[in-house]
Amino acid sequence: MEILIPNKEQSGCGLSGVINRKGELIKGEVIIESICCQMERGNGLGAGYAAYGIYPEFADYYCLHVMADNKQALKEVEEILAHKCYLVHQERIPTRATPGISSPPRFRRYFVKPRYEGEIREICEGTADEDDYMVDLVMLINKNVAGAYVISSGRNMGAFKGVGFPDQIANFFRLEEYSAYIWTAHNRFPTNTPGWWGGAHPFTILDWSIVHNGEISSYGTNRRYLEMFGYHCTLLTDTEVVAYLLDLLIRRHGLPIELACMALAPPFWQEIDRMEEPEKSVCTAIRAVYGAAMLNGPFAILFAYNGGLVGLNDRVKLRPLVAAKKGDFYYMASEEAAIRAICPDPEEVWCPKAGEPVIVELEPDTIPNQRSYLRGEGVQVSAPICRFPTAVEEDEEED
């Protein structure tokens, strides 16, 4: 039991996310405009972005974005990487001096594969699965290297975050130079903060990235649950647990994404008692087995992966979340204004209900290493779900 972990932070923030289902690239300016429309939702103490599809030339390599306080920490990270990975490319993450951002940490990115090819394979012995290997590696660096943090570790994606307003952070990381098929963004309003770059959103593990508005009151339960499975929370913020929970439930346990969302924001017992079989048994089992994974407290989250964007509210919808669509574009944000700033004439705008996930996946075979966690065509889950591709859509296609 580590009792010296400082207080987790609490926050109330602004979110925005956009995805193109055909994998069409969206310019950085778009998301910057949307999140900056929600300037009042932050206080200049944190902002961040996650972008998918930004490193097509290294699409098969895990890209580690490393934030370090000093050269020594970077050196230690590089030593670990040299031992554990095959490094194809590394560089400074390009930044520019930005008014209002003083003494930022160093940022570097490393494109790696978790094992040596061919004859020197045994060096990477241990977990067979490359993703598990990378999770362990990230945990190792975050836990053991003082002053260095891996802020993103997925393929063909990256997180950019820091202390400042969203326009400042975008300017600092030169985000207008990137184009992505999924963007998420965050504007932070922490209530008890150290001016701490690692504490800004998004939080990531592998290609999972989370931006979050709210407070996870069940943090203590979630953190101790995750520790049983080898995840260590080092970034001092409650949102971190969401990233690890998604990785555990969806990737490692293989739960369909609908059920993983249900585990995070499950229906109430009174609703489950009214369900019919087999949904009733499934829901009961989810709640009994994954009770410690439930996210309790007010939240709206957007999470993304190589292939999809998901929005989710808490069980009683204590934080705002709006969704909209136009053609192949899907938008989710804290405020409708943030969507209309970049899409003035959406075909449809709606507020997802409490605990009702909005799941938008790319069309099949759109990008390399695409992941899809929706199982088959629209499976009935009892709890409301809003999914794209919809079951109806596919029916039409079949017709």
């Binding site: 339960t221 049983m228 994954y290 009770g291 439930m294 009935q380």
Partner: protein, 522 residues
């Protein structure tokens, strides 16, 4: 020749009355207000210890203070409120080492040569950790939830949970692939601890059983078997299998939803139990399957369990006998090495581990055991929960704790430390009138609780017992909902093991480390 023996022989014929030092210094004083007393003699009828008497010659009431146990029955029943029971004001010279408690105990043993006997739980003021833990509440950044407006869930499932679930889509619906259960559903995470029929009256058992049913929770038979009238409450019953195996047969094992193997009890770790023959009436004899009037002695160990693999043997014997439909609980007293023992119990196949702490109650225990053997439940719970998590087996069994839980906040703190549910015993008895006088082993309980005297048990009818116990837990459940709502949680599982919701006041670093909580202000 043993000179001592000879001396004893010679002294017996002189039937001189021996001086009894312990009688000189009563614990309580019976105070009668003669202006109010109407000499109705109710006090004489009510007192089972004969502390009140009638002087025929002087036509007046008398008191024998040395017989008063402080149960307050006479005080409560006096129609004119003329009686007050107070601590006896007679004092020894003040001495921090030789407090009256120790002096009087020495007198008692010098008078009788026996083992000091006591009831209730540990009476030594060891640090009570519940009283050093405070809870969190929401302000501003997250809203407190009002349980009167929003759902607030206390439902808890006991039993082993798999590491993960597997589902497959089938006909457009998800079907569970993982085999789950059996689980026990509790609507409130408070169960009634094992108190045997024999130790307490049938009426209390009936009250507990009904309350458990109405509340959606469980009560525990204790080691006294299950009275025929209680089989109908099977779905809310835990049947106990203790070292004496009294009243144990296959119908009994199948009567409830769980079987508890009692290895130890917090009030008296390391020893067995003893129901004196005087308490073994006709009904109890039938239920326990022993002759009327014979002592029911539970040995210290189970004589078929001398090691952990034997425990595994018994767990699976019980599971076989009940076709794997019942959960098997294993209850141990919280002792020094509890984490390792609990880990072994989980690996031996138990579905639920019960930890009973130092302050756990009893109807009879040697005073030295009650007061000085075992460790506080708060520390044991924190250590066991952490150990099971480190070993990655916390989900393989539920954790239930008991021993010194006095109010709903204690329940909340226990769950935040990592318990799935708690057992309460003493609070349920206090709810039906117990005044904690601690003389349960006499069989003379004037409140009709810890007795089987046919006249005395009439003092507490099953209906009253049910109502009082139901009300208590109902009230606690409300309070737990309010406390959860204040913490911004709407479901009990988000509190389970959530030590971030606790802060300590006035504990040292070792205690903080063991409890896994931060100090207030951190």
């Amino acid at each position: 020749m043993n000179p001592q023996k000879e001396k004893a022989k010679t002294s017996t014929p002189r039937k001189k009355k021996k001086i009894q030092f312990s009688k000189f210094y009563p614990d309580f004083l019976i105070e009668r207000d003669w202006d109010r007393c109407i000499k109705c003699k109710i006090c004489i009828r009510e007192c089972t210890y004969e502390a009140h008497g009638w002087d025929q010659k002087r036509e007046t009431l008398t008191e024998d203070h040395s017989k008063c146990v402080g149960c307050h029955r006479c005080e409560a029943m006096c129609p004119t409120g003329a009686i007050t029971i107070r601590k006896h004001p007679s004092a020894f010279r003040e001495h921090d080492t030789w407090k009256p408690w120790f002096i009087k105990n020495v007198y008692k043993q010098a008078d009788t040569g026996g083992v000091l006997l006591a009831a209730t739980g540990c009476a030594v003021p060891f640090r009570n950790y519940w009283d050093h833990l405070v809870l969190d509440a929401c302000q501003v950044t997250n809203p407190p939830i009002d349980p009167l407006r929003e759902p607030m869930e206390l439902r808890t499932y006991l039993g082993p949970k798999p590491d993960k679930l597997e589902v497959v889509p089938e006909d457009g619906r998800f079907q569970l692939q993982t085999r789950i259960g059996p689980w026990i559903k509790l609507e409130v995470p408070i169960m009634f601890a094992a108190m045997s029929y024999g130790a307490i009256s049938l009426h209390v058992h009936q009250g507990l059983a009904r309350a458990a049913k109405e509340l959606g929770t469980l009560y525990n038979t204790g080691e006294g078997g299950l009275h025929a009238s209680l089989y109908e409450y099977g779905s809310n019953t835990i049947v106990q299998c203790a070292s004496g195996r009294f009243g144990l047969h296959v119908d009994y094992l199948n009567a409830g939803v769980a079987i508890e193997i009692k290895i130890g009890q917090g009030a008296k770790p390391g020893i067995g139990g003893h129901l004196p023959g005087e308490k073994v009436t006709e009904e109890i004899s039938k239920t326990r399957m022993i002759p009327v009037g014979s002592d029911a002695i539970s040995p210290a160990p189970h004589h078929d369990i001398y090691s952990i693999e034997d425990l595994r043997g018994l767990i699976y014997a019980l599971k076989e006998a009940t076709e794997y439909k019942k959960l098997v609980f294993v209850k141990i007293a919280a002792v020094h090495n509890a984490p390792a023992i609990a880990s072994g119990i989980v690996r031996a196949g138990a579905d639920v581990v019960v930890l009973d702490g130092l302050r756990g109650g009893t109807g009879a225990a040697p005073t030295m055991f009650r007061d000085y053997v075992g460790i506080p439940i708060e520390l044991a719970l924190a250590a066991v929960d952490e150990r099971l998590r480190q070993e990655g087996i916390r989900n393989q069994a539920s954790l239930v704790v008991s021993g010194g839980i006095r109010c709903s906040a204690d329940v909340v703190k226990a769950i935040a430390l990592g318990a799935d549910a708690v057992y309460i015993g003493t609070p349920a008895l206090i709810a039906v009138g117990c005044t904690m006088c601690g003389r349960c082993f006499t069989g003379k309980c004037p409140w009709g609780i810890a007795t089987n005297n046919p006249e005395l048990i009439k003092r507490l009818d099953p209906e009253t017992a049910f109502e009082k116990i139901y009300n208590l837990v109902h009230g606690w459940a409300h309070e737990i909902q309010e406390l959860l709502g204040a913490m911004g949680l709407n479901s009990i599982e988000s509190l389970r093991g959530n030590r971030d919701k606790l802060r300590a006041v006035g504990l040292n670093e070792v205690e903080l480390r063991i409890l896994g909580v931060k100090h207030a202000g951190e």
